[in-house]
Symmetry: D2
Subunit: 228 residues, 4 copies
C-alpha cells in the first residue's frame, strides 16, 4: 500500500491540556512533527478553538462533531457552515462520546459533503462499521468504546475487531479510508493497526495527555513509514 | 428603576448573516450603537466565532449553550471551560431551540458559576420561568416559542405571560435579572417589555436579519432610555 | 415469489381509535379478515395493550419499540423481556416517529434476538435501508417519513425509493424480509408495493382510521393474493 | 400529622422479579400487606403489566413514566391516555433513570392532569425539588440518584437533603405531597423519612428484590403507623 495515503488524526476531546491557547500550541507541535517525518497528521480541536488553530497551522483541522441541521434559527447548534467558515477541513461524526441517531449520521455526512468537509464516521463494532460504510463517508473510524482511553490498543488487544471491520467495510465500500482507534499509545500500536488493513489511526489521550506530545507524534509517524 | 442595569442580548443563532467574519462585523456594529447611546448590549455568536468576536469588541459576549459536562473525555461537547477560554462572559442555557433536561439546566448553571460565566436560562411559559428562577441563574429569559421569529412581539401580543412570569419569578427569587424575548422588532416592543417589569430583552432575527442592524440596535437602546 | 411469505403489519401508533379495549376489538377484526383470505397480518398495539391483545387473537403481535437496555434498574423503559412476557412475537425498531441512535438500533436488534422477538427495523431512505440491513434484523421496513399519514402511497408516489431500497438491501443481505410503508391505503397500493420487490407492507392510519378497518384489511389481503 | 395521608409507592422498575405474571403476584402480596396494616401502598409496574395488575388488585397503580405527547401519530410512545385506559391511577415523571427535558416535565404533569392521573415528579437534589414543586404536580419525590439501589437510606445517610428539600418545596407549594426515596430498606428508614417531614416513601429494590416482599411491606406499613 501507498503510505502517502496514511493519516493520523488527533482528537483533542475537551481536555484542558488542549483547550484555548493550549490547543494552538499543541497543534503547532503536531504540525512540526508531521512535517519532519513527512506523514499526514490532522487535529480535531474543540469548536471554540477551530478558528485560531486553523489560522495557526497548515495541517488538516477537523471538528469533533456537527449537528445535522441547516443554518438558521437553531440556537446552540454547530452547523457545518460554521465549522467550515472557521477553517475546518473535516469533521468527526458519531464518536462514541457523541453518538447520533442513525438518520442524523446520514444527514451529517450529507451536510459535510454539501459544504466541502471531509467526514469521519466512528463505529464501535465491526457490524456498525459495515453499516456506516454504506452511508459513504470519506472515512470510517473503528473505535471499540470499551478500549478508549485505556492505553490498551485496539490493534493489539482486539485485532479481530479490526480485521472483521475491514472485511465488512470492504464488502460494501471499496474506497472509504479506514482508521482505527482506542488505546493507541505507541508506534507499535500504530504499526499493528496498519498491518491489519487500516489506513491510519484516530488517537486522543495517547498524544494529548503525553508529557511530550511531539515525541509521540514523531514515533507514530515513523511507525507509519515502517509499515509502508 | 435604574436603567443602567438594562440589558439587550442579541442571539446570532446559526444565521448565515452572522456566521464567521460576518459575526465579527455584526458585533462591531452592535458595539458602536451600544456605545453611542450608552445602553448595555451583548452578543451571542456561534461557538466557532466566540473567540474572534471576543477579540474584536468590548461588549459582553455570550455562548448560546454549554453542555453540562466537565472538561475531559467528552468528544464534541461544548464545555464551560472552552467558551470561557475563548473569551465569553456568559451563556444562554435551555433556549427553546436547545431544550435541556431539567437536571442538566441545573448542572449547566452550576458549571457556568464555577468558571465565572453569567447564566441566562430561558423558559417558554410563566410557570417554567418560576421553576428556573429557583435554580438561581444570573438571568431568566422568558420566550414563548410560538412567537419566536414571528415579528409579533411577546410584550405586545401576550403581555400577560410577561407579567405573570415576572410575578412568579419574584415569588421565588428577588434578585435575578429578567429578560423577555420572541418577536421583538421595534423600539416600542422593547419599551413595552420594560414597562411590564423586565430588565431587558433577548432578540435574534429582529436585529440579525434587519437590513441595517445598527439602526435597530440604536432604536432599541433609545427605547430603553425612554423607559427609564 | 411465494406469497405465503407475504406479511402485512398494522401499526396502531397511539391513535385513540386503537387504544385500550378498542385495540382488542380492532385486532379481532383484523384477525377475522386475515383468516378469511388466508394472508398473514400482524398488529402492533401500544405497550399497555399488548397483553390483552395477545390474549385475544392468534395473529402475530408486535411492540412498536423496545429500549436497548437489559432488565433491571431502568425505570420507565420498555424491555424486550417485558413485551415478550406480555405475549409479543416481534417489535418495530427505529420507526421514524421513534428514531434511535445508530448503536441503539443494533443493540435493540440484538435484544430482540436474545428473547426471541422478530425485529422490523424501519428506514426512511434507500441508503438507510441498506445500512440497517447490515445489522441483520428479521425485516426491514422502508418508510419515507414525508409520505407517512398522507394517503399518498410510497409504492405509487415514489416507486424509485422502493426499488432502490430493495437493491441496496439485497446487496448486503439476501434473506431479510422487506416491507414498505407510508401512505398505503388501497389494495392497489399494496399490489404496487409487492410488484416492486417487497414482501409486504407496514400500514397505520390507512387501516386504523378507516370507517371499516376490516374491509380495508380484506382488500389488502386480496391484493396480496393477486400479486402472487 | 394525619398518617391516613401517608403513602408508600413501590417502583417495579424493569426487574425480572416483577415482570409479567410476577408483577401480578407481587402486587397481590403488597395489597394484602397494605390492607392488613391499613396503610396506603401503591405499585408502579411496567407499561406492559399495568392492565393485568390493575385488573387484579384494588390498590393504586402507577405508570413509571409517560411521554409528553398527545394520542395520535406517535409510534412507540407511552401516552397518558393509554396508561389511563389500562387502569392506572397515576404516573411517575422524571425519575432519575428516565430524566426529562424541563419543558417535558411540565407537559407531562399537564397531560396527567388532563386524563385524571396523579403525578409524582422526581428530583435528585433539594434545589430541583423546589423547582419541580413550582410545576404543581400532585407529589414530589426526592431521590438522590447516588443512593438509589444502595440499601443506604437517604433518610439516614443524608437527612439534610430531605429537610432542605421539604423546606424548599414548602416555600413554593403548601399542598404538594412529599415522598422521599433511595436506599430505603427497613422500617426504620421509613420512620426516619416521615420524621423529616415527608408524607411517604418511594421504594424499589428494597421490596422487589427482597426474599419475602410482603414482610418488608408489612414492616414499612407498621413504621408508618408508629410515626403517626
Amino acid at each position: 500500500m501507498n503510505r502517502s495515503e496514511s493519516f493520523l488524526l488527533v482528537n483533542f476531546k475537551t481536555y484542558l491540556e488542549a483547550t484555548g491557547k493550549r490547543a494552538v500550541e499543541l497543534s503547532k507541535k503536531i504540525e512540526t512533527a508531521s512535517e519532519n517525518v513527512g506523514v499526514r497528521v490532522g487535529v480535531a480541536p474543540q469548536f471554540c478553538d477551530i478558528e485560531r488553530v486553523a489560522a495557526s497551522v497548515d495541517i488538516p483541522v477537523f471538528a469533533q462533531h456537527i449537528d445535522p441541521v441547516a443554518s438558521g434559527a437553531n440556537t446552540g447548534h454547530v452547523t457545518a457552515d460554521s465549522v467550515k467558515a472557521a477553517g475546518a477541513d473535516g469533521t468527526l461524526i458519531n464518536h462514541s462520546e457523541m453518538p447520533l441517531r442513525l438518520l442524523d449520521v446520514d444527514k451529517s455526512v450529507e451536510r459535510a459533503k454539501q459544504v466541502g468537509l471531509k467526514s469521519v464516521v466512528c463505529a464501535g463494532t465491526a457490524k456498525l462499521a459495515g453499516a456506516v460504510a454504506v452511508l459513504e463517508p470519506d472515512m470510517v473510524a473503528i473505535e471499540p468504546p470499551e478500549l478508549i482511553g485505556t492505553g490498551r490498543a485496539v490493534s493489539k488487544e482486539n485485532p479481530e475487531i479490526v480485521t472483521d471491520s475491514v472485511k465488512r467495510i470492504r464488502n460494501v465500500n471499496r474506497s472509504v479510508v479506514i482508521l482505527c482507534g482506542a488505546g493507541i499509545s505507541t508506534g507499535d500500536d500504530v504499526n499493528a493497526a496498519l498491518k491489519l488493513g487500516t489506513d491510519g489511526v484516530l488517537v486522543a489521550s495517547g498524544i494529548v495527555k503525553a508529557p511530550r506530545p511531539e515525541d509521540v507524534v514523531m514515533e507514530f509517524c515513523k511507525a507509519v513509514l515502517k509499515a509502508g
